[in-house]
């Protein structure tokens, strides 16, 4: 559960960014839960590793909020899996969050460079 000592601090997800990352990942194509986790890990080059204990509840929460929708499909190796995809509301949310995120990071960068 907790942070193992010695592991790099960067592993810890910045507060409140998980949903944004999930939205971004799902924006490409619908995926199942493990796919999302794998993709985030790959794209971040292993910096972020999403724990299924946070990922699946986050997906359930977002589904309830109407940002993603789910459906059962068979996977490439012929198993049933729950695929998540973005809804229009999810797309809008992604756009909003991206804009506000870049504004914030730009501001933080300015402060750090000052």
């Amino acid at each position: 559960m907790g942070q193992k000592s010695g592991e790099p601090q960067s592993r810890e997800m910045v507060q409140g960014t998980l949903e944004m990352l999930i939205l971004k990942t799902l924006a490409l194509e619908p995926m199942h839960g493990y796919g999302v986790a794998l993709r985030i890990e790959q794209v971040s080059a292993g910096v972020f590793r999403v724990n299924p204990g946070s990922l699946l509840p986050a997906l359930a929460r977002m589904e309830r909020a109407g940002r993603v929708k789910s459906e059962w499909r068979s996977t490439e190796n012929n198993r049933r899996a729950k695929y998540y995809g973005l809804t229009p509301a999810g797309r809008r949310a992604l756009k909003d969050e991206t804009v506000s995120w870049s504004r914030q990071t730009a501001a933080i960068a300015k402060i750090l460079e000052a």
Partner: protein, 918 residues
């Protein structure tokens, strides 16, 4: 849309629980499988990979729990679980649950019942347009006909003044007027009716009364200004919804029908809406409304519509926009200039100053003006305070019970905490139990209140068949009960819940913990004791209050009213006796009295213009021979007219001289009887008999010779000081308005109530059309004067008995519980040689300390708080020592009894058993 989808998917989750669970399992295992496969591919052994994947996931149950908590349905489900658990917990201890629900039902029911009355009498607004804009000119409580005083002193106004304001309402949207009292009139259906007339209450109102009030008529139209624009205009009538339904059989064609009222055919023009009882609320509302310009015709009395006429109307108004000082000033100016204009030219400067001080205060009338309110406001507020205190005592009891239960469940709760249950969940569950109890108690209370309120209304309305008060709870009563139940539940659930919130997982799980935290911890026993002390405190206050009201009532009932009130039957004749002319009255009296005296069981009978202890409006000032009045002295006396035999019949003793009798014949010496108060005022050194008085009333000026002095009678009930009275032989008065004596009084040998039928029959036999308004015994009439006192004293005794009982149960519970918890300790004490007496004393001492604290707090509170009710007490101080001593005795006895039972049980503890138990 999102919200609806959310709700839908929540409902799906609730209904298809197994499917949702299966899908969740499938998703999780799929995740783990994929993760395992990936790790395997990247070089781990299959076992390592599976293990690593599991470790990443953590506890699948925890993850599932977190997934589930994403939806609202989980919270609802938890609540439902808690509710079911609470029901099970309560069902496990049925005795406790029953006691809890009964005491809550009594407490909440009492609150609801009193609130229903308060709502009906004090709070409910009139069912008219924008009631908040309505004002009354003065409190408009006195009813009657006045002359010779300044306007504004009795809130009564003459017709021409009312008419002037009606035409020119100045800054008001409208000013209306209405007769200051309701009149009983004989009503027959149809234009040429036959048979007995029904006696109905009629209210005479101005033409704009309905319009300015803004009454939405149920049917037809209301009385219009054009119906009442000149004396004698128009014979129209609006009937109440009740009358329309009960007497007109809900006739759809009621409008246009004719009712004959006191012989005058009147056309029904409209039906008032249900729930409209007029602006003046009384227990018995009017059934009919007619234009006040029909006053002379409908009441068979001389017209009161002339210029310079008597004061008999109340005024009400609607404010155009908000309150402003200008409205008040304008009204005062109107009153003053009217008075000034009617005093003539010779107004002195002093008088002018006096007139400048006359004021007609505006009083808000959103809930109507009400004699009910004036009479019952004090008692109802006192009773409300009493029932709130009773409910608090019940709350303290339940808090104590729940505390004890929570303490007994300490192990269970610690276990739950240790297993990872959240503290809020446990607190919520305990609160839920409390709220469940209070909700069930509230529902039972509502039913109880409905029954109790009906009894209360019967009492307040003095048995009137048709009344403006309703027992059925309306929306505000329901809201009140809901609020009280919720608040009660929170109040008594809070203490145990907080205690649980503070409790710790570790110590209670220790095997030997029970000695330390449960029985020994003085902090844990502080709260229950504080609660018991507060119960004793409140009980002392309630007992003292109830005692005061009971003693006050006894004082009132034993107060001599100056006449013999047993065996006296009163018959009220109305409508000027159904058309008898003044000249025929002497014969009528003679005939009626002969008939009465001929009835078996009647010892004597007489007529008078008022019943003893009723309001008479006949007053006059007079000149008294040999008496020089002080300047500006009030020289008014109350005048009574009686037939021979009155003093004997009413049982009023004659102090000096003789009673009025047959010898005071029409042509003979004009004789009067005065009462003691009169004699003492004018002839403080005695010798009133033989002196002459002259009335300032031209028709019957006199001179009249005083032939005797009668004892004082109370005039407006036992609280009042005796007033100056002069009795005239009715046969010596000039035949006219003042020769009608409406009250036939019959002294009976046996129970007067049993004579009612015979008296009524004899009167009907003599004249079938004689309007008999009511027949009742003097005892009933006098009881009505102490109705408030009876209401307060009976209910407050009942409620304080309830409070004391609850406090007793509470104390018993706390002491029993403490004895059970200390069985161990007591066993050791006995084993070490403590005697039965020592153990008994140990337990009793504890309760005596609690009693002492309760008294120390309660007595000052009672002394301070009960001063507020001093005005309700009759010849009794609010700090009456006898009452206080009595209440201390009662509460002490209850305390000792409640402590004695557990103490005896403690003394019987077998040390072997007690120690082995551990």
């Amino acid at each position: 849309m999102g919200l609806l989808a959310n709700i839908a998917s929540g409902l799906r989750a609730l209904t298809g629980r197994t499917r949702v669970e299966r899908e969740m399992d499938e998703e999780l295992s799929g995740f783990i499988d994929a993760s395992t496969a990936d790790k395997h591919r990247s070089g781990m052994s299959p076992e390592q990979a599976a293990r690593a994947a599991r470790v990443e996931m953590g506890s699948t149950n925890a993850v599932k729990h977190r997934i589930r908590s994403a939806g609202w349905e989980t919270a609802a489900e938890n609540l439902w679980q808690d509710l079911r658990y609470s029901v099970r917990m309560l069902a496990k201890s049925p005795a406790f649950t029953l006691v809890a629900i009964v005491s809550l039902a009594l407490g909440i029911g009492a609150n609801t019942a009193i609130f229903t009355l308060i709502n009906g009498v004090l709070l409910k607004q009139l069912p008219v347009r924008a009631p908040k804009q309505l004002v009354s000119v003065g409190k408009a409580l006195s009813g009657g006909v006045l002359g010779g005083v300044d306007m504004g002193t009795a809130d009564l106004y003459p017709y021409d003044f009312a008419r002037q304001l009606e035409k020119q309402p100045g800054p008001f949207e409208g000013i209306f007027s209405y007769n200051s009292r309701l009149r009983k009139v004989g009503v027959q259906v149809g234009e040429h009716p036959s048979g007995q007339a029904a006696q109905m209450l009629l209210h005479l109102v101005s033409g704009n009364y309905f319009g300015v009030l803004g009454v939405p008529m149920f049917m037809g139209r209301s009385i219009q200004p054009s119906d009442a624009d000149a004396p004698g205009r128009n014979a129209v009538v609006v009937v109440s919804y009740h009358y329309w339904r009960e007497t007109m059989d809900a006739d759809a064609a009621a409008v246009g029908k004719v009712l004959t009222i006191n012989g005058v055919p009147c056309t029904v023009v409209g039906v008032a809406p249900a729930g409209f009882y007029g602006i003046a609320l009384s227990t018995e509302p009017p059934e009919l409304w007619a234009p006040l310009t029909m006053q002379a015709e409908l009441t068979r009395e001389p017209s009161m519509l002339d210029a310079n006429g008597p004061y008999w109307l109340h005024l009400g108004a609607r404010r155009a926009a908000g309150y402003s000082l200008a409205q008040q000033q304008w009204l005062n100016t109107q009153v003053r200039s009217y008075v000034l204009a009617h005093e003539g030219a010779q107004v002195t400067a002093d008088r002018r100053k006096e007139i400048e001080r006359i004021a007609a205060p505006l009083v808000t009338a959103a809930s109507g003006v009400s004699s009910l309110r004036a009479n019952f406001e004090g008692p109802l507020l006192i009773l409300m305070g009493v029932v709130v205190l009773v409910l608090l005592v019940a709350c303290a009891n339940l808090a104590n019970f729940l505390l004890a239960k929570a303490a007994a469940r300490e192990r269970e709760i610690s276990t739950r905490l240790a297993l990872g249950s959240s503290r809020t969940r446990i607190v919520r569950q305990i609160l839920m139990e409390a709220l469940l109890l209070s909700a069930v108690g509230g529902v039972c209370g509502l039913v109880l209140a409905w029954v109790a309120t009906r009894a209360l209304i019967d009492f307040v309305a003095a048995g009137a068949a048709y009344t403006s008060l309703h027992a059925a709870p309306d929306i505000s009563v329901l809201a009140f009960t809901l609020g009280v139940s919720l608040l009660t539940g929170l109040l008594f659930g809070l203490a145990p819940a907080l205690r649980v919130a503070r409790s710790d997982a570790a110590p209670a799980l220790n095997a030997n913990a029970r000695t330390s935290s449960a029985s020994g911890g003085s902090r844990g026993r502080l709260l229950p004791r504080a609660l018991v002390v507060s119960q004793v405190t409140v009980s002392v206050v309630l007992l003292a209050g109830a005692g005061l009201f009971l003693r006050s009532l006894t004082n009132l009932e034993q107060q001599s009213v100056g006449f013999n009130r047993t065996h006296l039957l009163l018959v009220n004749l109305g409508d000027k006796f159904g058309g008898i002319k003044p000249a025929q009255l002497a014969g009528f009296y003679q005939k009626a009295l002969d008939r009465m005296n001929a009835l078996p069981g009647v010892s004597s009978a007489a007529f008078a213009n008022t019943a003893p202890m009723s309001h008479s409006a006949w007053t006059s000032s007079m000149q008294v021979q040999g008496y020089v009045p002080a300047p500006k002295e009030d020289r008014d006396s109350i005048l009574e007219r009686v037939t021979p035999g009155y003093f004997e019949t009413a049982g009023i003793p004659i102090v000096q001289g003789r009673a009025l009798g047959r010898e005071d014949a029409p042509g003979g010496l004009k004789a009067v009887e005065v009462n003691l108060a009169w004699a003492e005022h004018y002839f403080p050194r005695g010798g009133a008999v033989g002196h002459q008085i002259t009335l300032d009333d031209d028709t019957n000026a006199g001179p009249w010779t005083i032939v005797g002095v009668a004892a004082n009678t109370r005039y407006l009930g036992p609280r009042e000081e005796p007033q100056r009275q002069v009795y005239f032989p009715v046969q010596q008065l000039v035949p006219g308005e003042n020769s009608y004596a409406e009250w036939l009084q019959v002294r009976t040998a046996g129970d007067p109530d049993k004579m009612t039928g015979a008296v009524r029959a004899a009167l009907a036999q003599m004249d079938p059309s004689l309007p008999v308004l009511r027949i009742e015994s003097m005892a009933d009439l006098t009881d009505r004067f102490v109705a408030n006192d009876q209401l307060i004293s009976r209910l407050s005794s009942l409620f304080s008995a309830l409070a004391v009982l609850l406090a007793g149960i509470g104390l018993y519970g706390v002491m029993s519980y403490s004895v059970v918890r200390r069985t161990n300790e007591i066993g050791i004490r006995i084993a070490l040689g403590a005697q039965t007496g020592n153990v008994l004393w140990m337990v009793l001492r504890e309760s005596l300390v609690l009693l002492g604290f309760g008294l120390a707090l309660g007595l000052p509170l009672a002394l301070g708080g009960l001063r507020l009710v001093q005005s309700q007490l009759y010849e009794l101080s609010a700090s009456d020592p006898v009452t206080l001593a009595g209440s201390i005795l009662i509460i002490a006895a209850i305390t000792l009894l409640a402590a004695w039972l557990p103490a005896r049980r403690a003394a019987r503890v077998d040390p072997m058993v007690a120690l082995r138990c551990e």
